[in-house]
Homo-oligomer: 114 residues x 3
């Protein structure tokens, strides 16, 4: 069984690759003073770095689950999202209380690597 | 890298196919005057159309995530669900505030295509 | 199309295998008098049994979605989680109201089987 893990800590790996698929952890912004648009942009920049590590780009994103602290921030999230995405993946967006009070958005990707 | 996308708009594709797997976006009902049972039935009818486009049927559904606006509607959702499903997939059902106030249920599928 | 299903009832299968991937249903504890740490430990023991059925072990877990009834129980969940996990998977943890009031935690896995 061939599984590759990236950025692993005691609880999780940020990216896990198996077969032709990469599974990302839910990504959040480090600068949580930003609003939802800013946090989304930071998350997507983080995703770019992981995609580059995998030798792919944002066109390889197959599916995304997006959790918003306040579903009312849907347009703010989409402003950053539509500026970033090239080949739109499957997506679901729902509201959820997230790990810390100032986390406004969390995004989990499934990605093609071959 | 061979990825096929169906019903793509600026934000998402309703279905993305890669390798032997199809990733669906979270599907919701268009007629949101319906109750949760009616909305679930409409979602599943939409899924049927996408499955047919992919050349498979509801037996190809591998996994489902179901979000209910009110977890108290669990039985209403299941009434439509059990009438529809042939070969039950893996499934998780949780409550979440969804994209619009009158969206009672949203369902995201992962599907086998070969 | 070759799909294997395990522990199937009218609504769902606890595990569905297709290609090199196994999709688990959201698992919850049977003894819901336990706190979040206890419920998490019971869920992970259930996962061990399914993993054994599949001929793999906890190192084969690729991705996990964790729903907590109260995100404040994050550390209680992690206490059981870090005691269990060997090779940390990708993971996302969010708060959600779950199927019954005393369900404190639900975990859904994606697993490698080859």
């Amino acid at each position: 069984m061939n599984i590759q893990r990236f950025d692993t800590n005691a609880r999780l790996s940020r990216v896990v690759v198996h077969g032709n698929t990469a599974y990302f952890s839910g990504l959040t912004a480090d600068d949580r003073g930003k609003d939802t648009q800013g946090q989304t942009a930071e998350i997507l920049a983080k995703a770019d770095a992981y995609l580059e590590t995998l030798g792919v780009d944002r066109n390889a994103v197959l599916s995304a689950t997006i959790w918003l602290r306040d579903i009312g921030d849907f347009d703010l999230m989409n402003a950053a999202w539509t500026a970033w995405i090239d080949a739109p993946p499957a997506r679901a967006t729902v509201e959820a209380v997230l790990g810390l009070p100032d986390i406004r958005v969390e995004i989990q990707f499934t990605v093609a690597i071959a």
